[in-house]
Symmetry: C2
Subunit: 328 residues, 2 copies
């Protein structure tokens, strides 16, 4: 029996999938389902292609209650910029949950991943940041620096935003973009000194590919939330081990992932103040947040989020005249 | 920078990818490369969706020297026939080897897998079957029963073909189809008794989802090649353990796979007569075949074959006016 399969481009997806509070709500619902233990989420398939300076990751998850599930293929080829091509492209294939039939191919070049990743940061801010955030600080100057700042602002309307990056031009460009995005609502400034930036902030987000600590324990202060979303692979790190140990709340997206891919891989024999808790547990129960607490969210990214945003995109595209269909 | 991505349907792929000796040559070259140890082939990503009676497997491999690599997604949803849908669908995504950019999506519904699987069987026959095969016997009545018989005949022009299946109507339909395919060249008959079928055959192919022995050691005779291609998962089995142990040559596609997915998982403490050898070693060196030997090929399917047939398909499609392209 022939079936209909539709190919959607990045430009089309950008018209229907946006970073807003509804997207954070969707991630809240997704993490709550994840915490119930019924989501199927196999280990990531990963292939390093050393002789091309490339890698490819495949993630999937089946989330009960959703109409479909996604298989996401993310290549990263780091010689591409020299060829005038992006390092990262990739796509999601979307299958009907009941039949496993291919319904759509989302040629999103990582856009859906960017949005679901930022929305998880927004969700962490919703549940773990102090109620009042006047100043937020961001480490990093890439796509996630921009999107995480936007997601956090959906939940905490800070008036001042500090950006710290290693390369001044990149930091300036990121600050300009965010100033344009926020307009008068937020004063965006470059922060040369990361320690003062953390001291001035109630909400800090690390969005870098760092392989060593960006934040030291002596910088911490009461009433501080940190979302560390850069580390998603063995060897990556943004927080000193003692930062994890001294936090009042250590929260992560998926315990089994952060132990090998997230900040928790670097705990090095230290012990957490309180038991590690998953984001899904926090959204399903009274928040552990107190306004003078130090809280951490350690995010590595989950296949459940991919399936959630793909299901959302598919539903949002249904009544649009978008896409290129083939009958197969 | 925008890139061009083309979607090809099963019908289009069937016009350019065929089971012929050139396809067996391609698999020979692929297995030779695999034997050199330079192919990257990560473990299969697998997700069982129990509450839908479904599963999804993802395979990939990077084969040095090929222009691209495939990521294959194969769903199997076994409630589908009751809904009038096929159990198996699926697709391959084809990436440029140099840049990791998506080049094509092959909506093949498993067709490319069927062909590369049968061609590996043909390759086993080329190197391991007796030089003279008058009669071939096939266990099973599905797609692979048909294709494996055709592939074997490309290498050994048997005049008689016996088909053994559990369900008489299915066996009759399979025999009819093969009789139509071969015409006068081959007499196709139903074999009710598997033991006599093996006794009469110089080449036997098992193509079933069995979970117990179909062939017993006392049925073996000098001058017999068996290709067992049904077992590709834990618990599946087509040959009694002693069949493996008594064979003069035990050959497999990938040792690391057959130990858990193929016949070798059931060796149960018996020892092989000679060291297990991979198909890629056989094609790269003088054949161990002797006409009075008992030889076995245990095939589980490899990602390298997927990448090979996808690269072949992509090249074959380039000068055709096929496919639906989008600029992304």
């Amino acid at each position: 029996m022939a079936s209909n399969i539709t190919l959607y481009t990045e430009a089309e997806l950008k018209q229907v999938v946006r970073l807003d509070r509804a997207m954070i709500d969707l991630m809240e619902k997704t993490f709550a389902t994840l915490a119930q233990g019924t989501v199927l989420m196999p280990p990531i398939l990963s292939m390093d292609i050393h002789d091309r300076n490339g890698e490819i990751d495949v993630k999937t998850a089946y989330v009960p209650g959703m109409d479909g599930f996604a298989v996401k293929i993310s290549p990263g080829f780091f010689n591409n910029p020299a060829l005038g091509l992006p390092s990262v492209n990739g796509l999601m294939v979307y299958f009907a949950a009941e039949t496993g039939m291919v319904r759509a191919v989302f040629l999103d070049n990582g856009y859906l991943t960017d949005i679901r990743t930022a929305a998880a940061g927004g969700l962490a801010a919703r549940h773990l940041a102090p109620a009042q955030v006047d100043t937020a600080g961001v480490f990093g100057t890439g796509v996630q620096a921009r999107l995480q700042a936007q997601a956090a602002h959906l939940e905490r309307q800070f008036r001042r935003l500090l950006i710290h990056g290693r390369t001044p031009e990149n930091a300036a460009r990121c600050a300009d973009d965010l100033a344009a995005h926020f307009g008068d609502a937020v004063a965006v400034e470059i922060a040369d000194d990361p320690r003062s930036m953390v001291a001035a902030s109630q909400l800090v987000i690390t969005t870098t590919p760092a392989r060593g600590a960006l934040i030291e324990p002596e910088w911490l202060h009461p009433g501080l939330h940190i979302t560390a979303m850069g580390s998603d692979a063995e060897g990556k790190q943004e927080l000193a081990p003692a930062v994890l140990a001294e936090a009042d709340v250590y929260c992560c997206d998926r315990l089994s992932q952060v132990e090998t891919l997230g900040e928790l891989q670097h705990l090095h024999g230290l012990t957490l103040k309180a038991e590690a808790i998953e984001l899904g547990d926090i959204v399903s129960s009274p928040s552990p947040r107190q306004d003078d607490a130090i809280t951490i969210a350690d995010l590595t990214g989950t296949g459940a989020q991919d399936t959630a945003i793909a299901s959302h995109a598919f539903a949002a595209l249904e009544d649009k005249d978008f896409g290129t269909s083939v009958v197969n």
